[in-house]
Subunit: 297 residues, 2 copies
Amino acid sequence: MFTGLSAFPLTPLRDDVIDLAAFEGLVARLVEAKVDSVTALGSTGSYAYLDRSERRQVTEAAIAAAGPVPVIVGIGALRTSQVRALAEDAQDAGAAGVLLAPLTYQKHTEDDVFGLYEDVTADLSVPLVVYDNPGTTHFTFSDELYGRIAELPNVASIKIPAIPADPASAAARVDAIRARVPAQVTIGISGDSAAQTGLSAGCDVWYSVIGGTLPQLATAIARPALAGDVDAARAASNRHQPLWDAFAKHGSLRVTAAIAEHLGLVTRSSLPRPILGLSTEERLDVAKLVTDLGLQN
Amino acid sequence: MFTGLSAFPLTPLRDDVIDLAAFEGLVARLVEAKVDSVTALGSTGSYAYLDRSERRQVTEAAIAAAGPVPVIVGIGALRTSQVRALAEDAQDAGAAGVLLAPLTYQKHTEDDVFGLYEDVTADLSVPLVVYDNPGTTHFTFSDELYGRIAELPNVASIKIPAIPADPASAAARVDAIRARVPAQVTIGISGDSAAQTGLSAGCDVWYSVIGGTLPQLATAIARPALAGDVDAARAASNRHQPLWDAFAKHGSLRVTAAIAEHLGLVTRSSLPRPILGLSTEERLDVAKLVTDLGLQN
């Protein structure tokens, strides 16, 4: 489950209420594209903006719509007791695994973060993905902390941020993490523009933003990369450079939401306010990018 | 209300439940010390870690315990609709004002933040303090954005982060902000070590962490500073340099909680997990600091 392609669907809103029908439609596309797992309520799924009952709804809908595909559910929250309650909800609903980022308001120490994972994994009955996303959490894991946390019970995977673009440096980076964590703990790349490099450098799984909305695009990169065909994977990734450039400029969430809105997969203004979607002008650029790259197919 | 000394009490927990009796005790000390206002559920009051019903409890307790002293209530949350609900709760409970920081998970644009304040102030019936705390929100206001937001209805004050230590540079900084915002909008300094400099440089109010736990210490700095006696204010602030050094090292929240725990104002482990309190060794340093500076009196 913690290998291959894990696709992160958006959680679309409509007038500040979760649009469950649109969400189920997104998950159905992922099943059809044969992704290896669905991660609901990741950063792309706006988990941090949703309350407990909304998160329960999304979890249940994801599991129902995913059928045989395993569903991992994001359980991040600022307070440990809130995370534990969300873990319980996810387990009760039938999640195959959970994903946990160390959200911060006050700056965390390494001991705070270790304590969070220690407290949460102690109660778990499903595997956990450690979610290292410094762009949103403003916490930076050391490799030593990866190692300490990876030894905790139920830790199954670590989702790491983007790695160096140069293949040799990328491989060295993945090897350095690999040396710190038990063999059964998989290493997953995130940052879609770095996915091919990460998978070719030895990552076991791609935790993918764009894969949650355009799974065909993601499989076109992931399948050759996982099969060891570096050249084909690189060509597939490089062909989407304008998309990665847009992600770098506006953030992957806003661009992915604009694509989903443009394609009619979700309705306009699908992101939780105060996050505004792209401007009208920026949307025209996204629409052109969709046409140029053939993303509508 | 948005001038003088605004004191930010801790929201102490006890086994992950709000210790209302201890909280009321903290607020009673502030009333006795004649602070100008109490700001409940600021960063020091751990607002971001508490759910809506907990925040309602704390708001009601603060207003009851503060008697004639006006209470400002923090209403920050990640989603605009959550902020609006918290604003309504605060108003219903009788808050004299509200305090709003632009919490982030996804990186905010200036338009997102302006939109947040626009949406929230449109419904308000009490004044609002704009809370600029880049250390926790990871959002940086431009002076131009201060100006745009300060023109919105009900905006009464801006809580700014620490300013340059040099008095001339500090005065230039406060003047630059002052030139951007309407005359009736007060400017408040935060970062306790910068309070004397800020007040002497023309800030109207000190939004004080330590003032919420040790109000006598804060008034000893604020009163001369507000009366224009720069030398006396500076001497009072400089005398507490070891405290500011501890704030810089461990963060003001952890140090203030350790002081309150040491003095028996709250019970041990009063912070919301995953935030661990100071270590045993660090607590010994804090205890020594309390004795050396006479903070127990």
